[in-house]
């Protein structure tokens, strides 16, 4: 009987653990999308010359 007490927290917490892992990681997906799109559209190379030099003097 005493051994059953061990199972109680496990029974409550393990499903919670599975649930957490199934959630779609929205922020991580956005970051991944941005990196891939920048790469395919070559946005970083395009913007760097403009941003790198004019931005600091502008502020």
């Amino acid at each position: 009987m005493k051994k059953l007490i061990w199972l109680l927290p496990a029974a409550v917490l393990l499903p919670a653990c599975v649930t957490i892992n199934i959630y779609f990681p929205e922020a991580a997906a956005e970051k991944a999308a941005d990196r891939i799109i920048d790469d395919i559209w070559q946005l970083k190379q395009e913007q760097q010359p403009a941003n790198g030099k004019t931005a600091p003097t502008g502020e």
Binding site: L13, C17, I20, N21, A28, A29, I36, I37, I40, W41
Partner: protein
């Protein structure tokens, strides 16, 4: 007995924390399959770019590319444009699927597509055409 119970609790908490930490990590996007799709899309982009700029094609609300106004393209180039768009869309679908699979959740594919759809549209350059939520074309 109490000590044993506490250490059991600690073990369970530690086991719980691990997947939580992994859940917040970056998505895996560096598999050979994803890199190959990306390279293919990059080379297509060299040709697609001028059509984005003149408004012949645009970004759809479902993460694809579509012909918006074929009349902006000379008749002789339309077939080429259609196959370019088809190839781009094949790669985009494959990309969403591969990211979902690479992260161990094939069922995430439609969410990944949705996220990409938003990001393609938001990152489209000024002058390019994108679809709004109702599917109407708007110029950025």
């Amino acid at each position: 007995m109490k000590k044993k119970l506490i250490s059991a609790y600690l073990l369970i908490v530690a086991l719980l924390a691990a997947p939580l930490a992994f859940g917040q990590a970056d998505l895996e996007i560096n598999t050979p399959a994803i890199t190959a799709i990306k390279e293919s899309m990059k080379s297509q982009h060299q040709q697609l770019r001028s059509y984005y700029e003149n408004g012949a094609i645009g970004q759809t609300r479902d993460g694809m590319v579509a012909v918006r106004d074929a009349k902006l393209v000379p008749l002789s180039d339309r077939q080429k444009l259609n196959s370019l768009v088809a190839a781009q869309n094949r790669d985009r679908s494959a990309l969403y699927r591969e990211i979902a699979v690479a992260n161990g959740h094939p069922e995430w594919e439609s969410e990944i597509r949705k996220t990409f759809a938003e990001r393609w549209i938001s990152k489209a350059r000024p002058g390019w055409w994108v679809q709004d939520a109702s599917g109407a074309w708007v110029q950025k």
